[in-house]
C-alpha cells in the first residue's frame, strides 16, 4: 500500500512575517497588498485574520472591510522564496519522490520508507520537527494511502496538525465531509450536486457511476472514485520547467510597429524577472505573432550561451520581430524562452553595473509586487512631440 504524505506550511507568508517581526504575533496579518490597494488580493493571512472571514484570493478592499484593524503587508517574495527553498531541502531529505505544488506545499511519496520510522505518527512528527528546527515555522501534515487523502488530511487539523488516515479508515472518514472538499469541485459543480441532494461525500456514494458519468462526463467518473477514497495519481517529482513565456492579445488589432515593440518590451520584462527569480537562464528565445487573419507564426533563435537579462532577451526578441513581421495588423504577440539552464555564463564585455541595475530593478518590482520601475522602451511613445521643448 502506498504511503503518501502532504506537507502544507501554515499561513506561510503571514507566518514568516510574524516570525521575523515579533510585534505582529497574535495579530491579524494580511499579506498581499497595502490597505489602499484597489486591485490587490490577499495571498495569505494569519489565523488571527481568518477569524474575521478573511481568506486568500479575496480582494484587499474586502479584507479591509472585514478586518479594519488588520495589518496589511505587501509581502517580500524574495524572502518567502528563500525560506521555501530551505524547506524544500528538508523535504527532499525525507523522500526522493517529491512533488512541490506551490511555494508552501508538497507531496512526498513515502512508500517503502515506513520502516525507517517507528510509526507513521513518528514519520509525520519527524518532518514537522525538522522543518520547525530549521525555519521556526509550523507545517500541517497529512498521511494517507494516496494524494487525495493526504491533502485532505493535512487540512484536517490546522495549524500545526498531523492527521494520519489508514487505508481501512478512509471510507468512514470521508463520509460526512462536504462534497466541495473534493479536488476539482468548485462552486458551480457543488451547486449542481446540491440540486440532486448531494451534499456530503456519503451522499455522492449513493449514485451509480453511470449516473455521474452521464451527467458530469469525465469529472463524474473521477468523483465516483474519489468519493470512495480512490485516487491513482502518482506523486510526480518536479520536472524542471522547459519553457516560460507570456503573450498578450490586443484589445484592438495593432498596426503600429512602435506599439508592438513596446508591448514586446513589457512582455520581456515579465518573463525576464520570472527567469531571474527562478535562477534560470535561457538559450532559446522565441516570439509568437498572430496576424489579423489569425495566421500564427513563431520564430526562434538559439544563442551560444544562455542569458536572462531583459536587455539580452529584448535584443533577440526585437530582432526576431524585425526580421519576421510579414503582415499587419497584429492581434497577438508573445515571447517565449526555452532551453533553460541553471547557470549563467558571465560575459567579458558586459558592464557589471548593468547587472547591478537589473538586480535593483527586480528588487523594487518584486518588493511592491507590481512594476514600479521600467525601461524606457516599455513606455508608450507620445503621439506628438511635447510642445515648446526641443528633445535633448
Amino acid at each position: 500500500m502506498a504511503v503518501i504524505m502532504h506537507v502544507d506550511m501554515d499561513s506561510f507568508f503571514a507566518s514568516v512575517e510574524q516570525r521575523d517581526r515579533p510585534e505582529l504575533r497574535g495579530k491579524p496579518v494580511i499579506v498581499g497588498g497595502q490597505r489602499e490597494s484597489k486591485r490587490g488580493v490577499v495571498s495569505t493571512c494569519s489565523y488571527e485574520a481568518r477569524k474575521y472571514g478573511v481568506h486568500s484570493a479575496m480582494p484587499i478592499a474586502q479584507a479591509v472591510r472585514l478586518c479594519p484593524h488588520g495589518i496589511f503587508i505587501p509581502g517580500d517574495h524574495r524572502k518567502y522564496e528563500e525560506v521555501s527553498r530551505s524547506i524544500r531541502k528538508i523535504i527532499h531529505e525525507f523522500s526522493p519522490v517529491v512533488e512541490s505544488i506551490s511555494i508552501d506545499e508538497a507531496f512526498l511519496d513515502m512508500t517503502g520508507c515506513e520502516h525507517l520510522y517507528h510509526s507513521l505518527e513518528h514519520m509525520g512528527q519527524s518532518i514537522k520537527r525538522r522543518i520547525y528546527d530549521a525555519v521556526a515555522l509550523t507545517a500541517s501534515v497529512g498521511i494517507g494511502p494516496n494524494k487525495f487523502i493526504a491533502k485532505l488530511a493535512s487540512d484536517f487539523h490546522k495549524p500545526d496538525g498531523l492527521t494520519i488516515i489508514a487505508p481501512e479508515e478512509v471510507e468512514d472518514w470521508l463520509a460526512p465531509m462536504a462534497v466541495d472538499k473534493i479536488w476539482g469541485i468548485g462552486e458551480k459543480t457543488a451547486k449542481v450536486l446540491a440540486s440532486w441532494q448531494i451534499r456530503t461525500i456519503a451522499d455522492l456514494r449513493r449514485w451509480p457511476q453511470e449516473f455521474l458519468t452521464q451527467r458530469l462526463g469525465k469529472q463524474g467518473e473521477s468523483l465516483y472514485l474519489l468519493a470512495r477514497g480512490i485516487d491513482n495519481r502518482a506523486v510526480e517529482p518536479e520536472t524542471e520547467a522547459k519553457s516560460m513565456g507570456k503573450e498578450t492579445t490586443f484589445a484592438e488589432d495593432v498596426t503600429d510597429i512602435g506599439k508592438l515593440r513596446q508591448t514586446l518590451a513589457n512582455l520581456v520584462a515579465i518573463v525576464g524577472i520570472r527567469l531571474r527569480q527562478k535562477d534560470l537562464w535561457a538559450r532559446t528565445i522565441s516570439i509568437k505573432l498572430r496576424y489579423g487573419d489569425f495566421t500564427t507564426i513563431s520564430r526562434s533563435l538559439s544563442l551560444p550561451e544562455p542569458i536572462n537579462s531583459d536587455d539580452g532577451i529584448f535584443q533577440v526578441a526585437e530582432a526576431l520581430l524585425r526580421e519576421n513581421l510579414e503582415d499587419l495588423p497584429v492581434r497577438l504577440i508573445g515571447i517565449y524562452v526555452s532551453q533553460l539552464t541553471a547557470f549563467g555564463q558571465g560575459s567579458l564585455f558586459t558592464d557589471p553595473r548593468k547587472e547591478t541595475l537589473t538586480e535593483l530593478m527586480d528588487e523594487l518590482n518584486t518588493r511592491y509586487d507590481r512594476p514600479v520601475i521600467s525601461k524606457g522602451r516599455q513606455l508608450a511613445l507620445p503621439k506628438a512631440p511635447h510642445k515648446g521643448k526641443e528633445p535633448t
Binding site: E240, D279, L303, P304, E305, T341, A342, F343, G344, Q345, G346, S347, L348, F349, T350, P352
Partner: protein, 367 residues
C-alpha cells in the same frame, strides 16, 4: 592536351583545395575544381567566393591546357586511383577529360572553363613573413575561442594584429578570450579579422616543419596567405573588434601553478557531469589544495582534489569545464598558471613559462 603525374601528387593538390569547393552554388560553376597544366606545372584551384585555394604540383606536359571538373566526383575518383602514374587527357571536342591510371580508364564530363575565377592575381608586397609552423600554432591556440554561431560578427573570426614588432592573434566569444603574441621582425602594421573557417582551413595546409614560411598580404578586402606550393585567399570580416586589452585582467586574487595534464585529466572527469547542458566545475582553492566539484541533477556529482602551488587567499569560482579543457589541450608546456578571483571576476590561464599565450575566462553564475 594531356599531362602525366603521380597519383599522390595530384591527390595532395586536390586535398588542399577540396574544402574550398562550393557545395551549393546556384550557377554551379563553383562546385568545380579548376585544373591547369603547362611547363611541368599543375595548378589546382577551387573557390566558393568566401575563400579560395590554389595548390601547385609537378607534372609532365607537352601542351598546356585547362579544365574544370565536378569536385564532388573528381576528387573521390583520384583518391581511389592506385598509386603510380596517372595520364590525364582533355578531349576538347567532346568536352571530356580522360583519366587513365593502372588498368582503369575514366571519362568525365568537364564544366565551362572560361568563367572560373582567378585568385590572388594582383598580389602585393607581403605585410608579414613568418614560419608557417608558428602561425599554425598561434591559430591553434586561438581558433577554438571564436564564436561558433552563424553570422558575420567580428566574434566569429580571429583578430590578427601586427604592430610594434609583434604579431598578435585574439579570439573571443565573449565568454572567454584567447590572446597570443609573437615578436616578428620586419612586419608592416595591419589589423584584420579573419573568419574562423579560413583559419581552420589554414591549419590544414600550413606545413608544421621548421623551414617553411608563410607570407601574409592584403588584397582589397581580402587576405592572402602564400606558401611555396599553395596560396589561400579569404574574405575578411568587417566590423569593429572589441577592445580586448580592456578585459585582460592585470591581476587576480590568487594564482596556482599545476601540471597541465593532471588538471586536464581531472577536468575531463568533471566534464562528464553534464547530461543536458554543459558541465559546470567549481574551483575551490584553499591552502594549496584545489578542490574541483561538479554536479548534475540527473546524473550525480564528482569531486576531486589536486595539490597545487598557490599564491594568495582562498578563492571559489565556477566555470564551464569544456572552456578550460579546450585551452589546456593547446598548451605544450608542462605546467600552467591559473589566476583566480572570487565570484564573477575573470580567471586567467597561461602556460607557466610564458606570458605570450593568455586565456581569459569568465566564471558562471550558479545558484
Amino acid at each position: 592536351m594531356q599531362f602525366t603525374g603521380m597519383q599522390g601528387e595530384l591527390l595532395q593538390c586536390l586535398q588542399m583545395v577540396e574544402r574550398a569547393v562550393a557545395t551549393r552554388d546556384p550557377s554551379e560553376e563553383l562546385t568545380g575544381v579548376y585544373l591547369e597544366w603547362s611547363n611541368e606545372k599543375l595548378t589546382v584551384r577551387a573557390t566558393d567566393m568566401e575563400i579560395g585555394i590554389e595548390a601547385y604540383g609537378q607534372v609532365q606536359s607537352s601542351e598546356s591546357g585547362s579544365a574544370v571538373l565536378e569536385g564532388k566526383f573528381f576528387v573521390p575518383l583520384v583518391r581511389r586511383l592506385p598509386p603510380g602514374e596517372v595520364v590525364v587527357k582533355l578531349i576538347e571536342e567532346q568536352q571530356m577529360l580522360e583519366i587513365k591510371a593502372g588498368t582503369g580508364s575514366f571519362r568525365l564530363q568537364t564544366m565551362a572553363v572560361e568563367d572560373f575565377p582567378t585568385i590572388g592575381s594582383d598580389t602585393k608586397e607581403p605585410k608579414a613573413t613568418l614560419p608557417s609552423g608558428l602561425l599554425a600554432r598561434m591559430i591553434r591556440q586561438t581558433v577554438y575561442a571564436t564564436r561558433k554561431d552563424q553570422g558575420h560578427s567580428a566574434f566569429t573570426g580571429i583578430l590578427m594584429e601586427c604592430s610594434s614588432g609583434e604579431l598578435r592573434l585574439v579570439a573571443t566569444d565573449s565568454s572567454r578570450l584567447c590572446f597570443n603574441r609573437q615578436s616578428l621582425a620586419g612586419g608592416e602594421d595591419f589589423k584584420i579579422i579573419v573568419p574562423s573557417r579560413t583559419c581552420t582551413e589554414l591549419l590544414r595546409i600550413l606545413p608544421t616543419d621548421t623551414e617553411s614560411t608563410v607570407e601574409i598580404s592584403l588584397v582589397g578586402n581580402q587576405v592572402l596567405f602564400s606558401l611555396d606550393n599553395v596560396i589561400l585567399i579569404s574574405r575578411l570580416l568587417e566590423g569593429q573588434y572589441p577592445d580586448y586589452t580592456r578585459v585582460i585582467p592585470s591581476s587576480t586574487e590568487a594564482e596556482i601553478v599545476a601540471p597541465c595534464s593532471d588538471l586536464a585529466a581531472a577536468l575531463e572527469r568533471a566534464n562528464l557531469m553534464g547530461k543536458k547542458g554543459p558541465a559546470i566545475v567549481t574551483f575551490d582553492l584553499e591552502e594549496g589544495v584545489l578542490r574541483l566539484q561538479s554536479r548534475d541533477v540527473e546524473l550525480g556529482e564528482s569531486e576531486e582534489t589536486l595539490v597545487v602551488e598557490q599564491q594568495g587567499p582562498k578563492v571559489r569560482s565556477s566555470f564551464q569545464a569544456r572552456f578550460i579543457l579546450e585551452m589546456l589541450k593547446t598548451v605544450t608546456s608542462e605546467k600552467i598558471s591559473f589566476g583566480l578571483s572570487n565570484g564573477l571576476n575573470p580567471g586567467i590561464i597561461r602556460p607557466a613559462d610564458s606570458q605570450d599565450y593568455l586565456y581569459v575566462i569568465m566564471p558562471v553564475r550558479t545558484v
